[in-house]
Symmetry: C2
Subunit: 684 residues, 2 copies
Amino acid sequence: MARRSSASKRKEIAAADEPTAAVAQHTAWSPYNRVVVESIYPESDGGRYPVKRVVGGLFQVWADIFRDGHDVIGAALLHRAADESQWRRAPMSHHDNDRWSGVFRLERNIRHFYTIEAWTDVFGSWRSDISKKVQAGQKVELELAEGRQIAAAAARSGGAGAVQIRAVLERLAAATAPEEQVAALLDEGLQRVMAEHGPREDVSTHFQTFEVIVDRAQAAYAAWYEMFPRSQGTDPNRSATFDDCIKRLPEIRDLGFDVVYLVPIHPIGRLNRKGRNNSLRAGPGDPGSPYAIGSREGGHDAIHPDLGTLQDFARFVNSCHELGMEVALDFAIQCAPDHPWVTEHPDWFSFRPDGTLKYAENPPKKYEDIVNVNFYGPHREALWRALRDVVLVWVERGVKIFRVDNPHTKPIPFWEWLIREVQAGHPDVIFLSEAFTRPKMMKTLAKAGFTQSYTYFAWRIFKQEIIDYLTELTQSPCREYFRPNFFPNTPDILPPFLQKGGPPAFKIRLTLAATLSSVYGIYNGFELCEAAAIPGKEEYASSEKYEYKVWDWDRAGNIKPFVAAVNRIRRENPALQEFLNLTFWRADNDNVIFYGKMTANRSNIVFVAVNLDPFETHDVTLWFPIGEIGLGDADAFEAEELLTGAKHLWRGSAQHIRLDPQDNPVAIFRLAVWKHVDYRTPNP
Amino acid sequence: MARRSSASKRKEIAAADEPTAAVAQHTAWSPYNRVVVESIYPESDGGRYPVKRVVGGLFQVWADIFRDGHDVIGAALLHRAADESQWRRAPMSHHDNDRWSGVFRLERNIRHFYTIEAWTDVFGSWRSDISKKVQAGQKVELELAEGRQIAAAAARSGGAGAVQIRAVLERLAAATAPEEQVAALLDEGLQRVMAEHGPREDVSTHFQTFEVIVDRAQAAYAAWYEMFPRSQGTDPNRSATFDDCIKRLPEIRDLGFDVVYLVPIHPIGRLNRKGRNNSLRAGPGDPGSPYAIGSREGGHDAIHPDLGTLQDFARFVNSCHELGMEVALDFAIQCAPDHPWVTEHPDWFSFRPDGTLKYAENPPKKYEDIVNVNFYGPHREALWRALRDVVLVWVERGVKIFRVDNPHTKPIPFWEWLIREVQAGHPDVIFLSEAFTRPKMMKTLAKAGFTQSYTYFAWRIFKQEIIDYLTELTQSPCREYFRPNFFPNTPDILPPFLQKGGPPAFKIRLTLAATLSSVYGIYNGFELCEAAAIPGKEEYASSEKYEYKVWDWDRAGNIKPFVAAVNRIRRENPALQEFLNLTFWRADNDNVIFYGKMTANRSNIVFVAVNLDPFETHDVTLWFPIGEIGLGDADAFEAEELLTGAKHLWRGSAQHIRLDPQDNPVAIFRLAVWKHVDYRTPNP
């Protein structure tokens, strides 16, 4: 890593002595914010980071709102899309204990801002007071005069509602008895008009503007298929091409996937190229790791000539789109030593005292086939813009999803900037964070803007650890910004459970990934139950990361029908297309996990039972939460097992099932609540 | 309430259309904040409000701190008193899971600011890398050159430590073998110097400055005695004087109180003066409510002539100080209709359509003896300053504690401003919020700056509700800013429990107030078990709020020895002088509550058992948490009951006691852990 001079360092330390970015909280004070607005929900990190939602949904915002004394207050949720300059207003209403909420629909796939405004409702306060006095039989002449003044001023202001207010004032002028005057001024129509158009005092605004990233639906519901393009062919001695990949697309569509994710498709460096099984020196025919990007044929915006041309790639993208799928690309920032940037922009890299390029390393491990860019070198801004432009080039070429390689080894401020920059023009772009690292870094990448995140799912195998992890993801504050994408395997991860458990293990892990999370993916070979590992490691033997591979996509022992069935069930059951609706329920066997999801209106109710033991059959009693789904203890319900089509008419919470790894390692039940017809009242 | 014109209102709404105070979170972004600093603890409301501590204590601040990659980072807790312009630095250290903490001592009774700075430790990162490479047997020539460059630059910069660094560089120059060079550069002394004075990259600062109010010790530990000065004499037909009050001070000191709190001592209005028992018309000799402040004799800065002169008041203050007590005054902003301000500053008040002054009311209730100021009238700033100056006048006269009447009927921004203004010059001033209202308003008053707060304690009588409430106060986020002051009675509150329970009830409530909370108080008459109420209400019959009263301070049935004993026990046991150290423990009788407090070093350990039933004797088994106090199950410990002096030698967790309301409604045990001497090793 190149280090700046000690002198510039000193300056930095001196400047930081009074942190310029620091905001003291009392600057948020204003004498006029009389109505207190606090404890906003949702928000992330006290408003520092955006929360995330998907387009089309309702966005409900909560806050504590109150003021001194007993005056009546009003409040509005102010919101605007990032490209709008005027706030829109949604009314807020009081629930209890000074807790208010307002709601608006997220109609566009674009970031939105929101804040809250509250005020004293002058006429409403007057109305509340006089009502109590009238009820107590007190004289109210002066109060009537005050009410007339408020209404008259509102009428004079000429805004909307002035006509209605004037009509009331005319009735008032005609009325002589105080009771008639009271009745006119307490008229409910008048109150409605005045609440909307009448005078507001003490207009107070929360000191922060909050942000919500409104993603397209695919950000929260999709099934991914990860492929090595060069291994989609039939000749083990040469790279497959995009045309070979195109041939595979109908099969992938039939398996039910939405996203075809390609590992890097760029030219691969020749300097220090890695050989088979990650050996240090490549043999003459070895293609190298696609993550060592760049050679004389081009860099991050180029295509490996062995795969085809830009035109071939365009045909691949079009073929995906025609089949209703889309393409995800890898965004791996590291460069091969012979990447064009190294000679064109040496200032973007770090050099050692002997003038040689500094390779990537995590001592004592060395990665001599790649070099990292220096994010804080002398031409920081040019480098950051160039990296952003790499993303934008592929966006122009029809790619709207990027799986980002190792984002936790690049600066968080860079990601926050890059994602905001790209989404400013293309809010439909999705970024998946491939960080397998410490929990807080993973969460902060998500806060900084990553649409989806890899997770610890691959290493959560047993019942309690799955429940604990999913409870954290669905119930802790990270639920507002961290969207998991569950991969049971990746080119780097072949967990021992899959190595040892055979096809039942693959079915178990696929079902968990696809039904616990609404976004999941598999790396090609999973459907074939590929389990050959380097002994003692969780790495694939003869990984296609370092060599050409030819797969028989229909080889014996594959679970393709099962994969297709699970993806079909996801498509047909909206409850499985959500994530935060996950709840675990009681199953009296530690080898069986039992959970359910339902839509908010209960129109779709799905329960899943998974035998986590790939070796043995387990009997289990499941406790269906029949109260939660609107049934009484004695009511009957229909449970359809969606993999087999078997139907049960069940009654009561506890139901016994048997899960045989070879036959049915999992059961996915859709519940139908039978309408209760009371024949004593035949026309309900 | 005077309402501003509708036109000005419209302008306000239009201006608010783009809330100017709103801070969008992405403005907190800086490309250079590479080291992530987040999840600061303690803080209140995402940094919006200060937290509170007392002087002399250690202030520990926690944060998540991490960066991309594997470089070594450093961090410092930056802190400064409000009157200092330069940050001081306390080093932070890593605990686990990216959680760091730093600590500094709060040496002065003044608000402090704090934030966190973190950076990449350039030399530390280099040292970590080369150590791993040396261990792996790799060649490190280039690394040595890099290390030498870093050290040489640090030496050239000439800062502290340069001499030490130069000495190492000279050793290096003399060394020829790489091993010697490695040894010189990995020298631990050099690492310490370089961590402190070496180069720092990526200097990152949290975007907020946080604030901690550092109060004097009395803010968190004090016993208050509330008195009506005019009722401290012997003639029921005239006001007592400050001299009468002075005569009572030795007795109050002997009872063990620290603060003598006087209800308002200002001239009382004559217009609409209230008569006995809150009747609408005062009789000729009726003195009126001291909360109807101001008459032709003066306003909030004057003294009621019947009580004496400013000189008499000064003598009273001095007498208190000489006895080791201090004076608290009531700050009640409302004015009598004949308060001098009403004629001098009519623009500070509200008038009705007929030109008459608007009295205070909470419809249908009317308070015709008082008028409220209009906090947002045309001369808002002058009014606010005048109110602040009222406080400052009394500060000049030796009063440093203010009990604020009904703060929840005045604007929160006003309090936030006034308390900050007063404490800027007088950080030793304590404000007690007398708000009995909805929970969020009570908490927000505390956030806005009130040093202490009245609570719901008077209405928490039974075991579970006491545990629930105290658990909220000690365990929820409000623990950082809400300091309770427990009053079992006030001039407005004589709870049915006290009305009906006789002396045992008073002993029970006193013990709870004084040992659950570290700050508590009683209103005079409590020590006499005064219990005469208006039937069906929780108000005192013939309240001295509306008449002169003569008390026999030694009348039969008083519990003065008990009060003195409890206050003595508080003084002698530091564990009772803290609040957040409260923990509840198991007692197998719902009428008996059992809790304990101990100092952090376990040098003082106190447990309290209270029979909450004032009528019947209860037997109970208490479970002492002997593991928590460092004892094994079979160890013996001494338990001294501090009210009786009775001592027990107990062994094991479960101990049986009997609490008889007439004899010992409460038991306060101080535990002594007997040192275990192993006679096989006679010189431990």
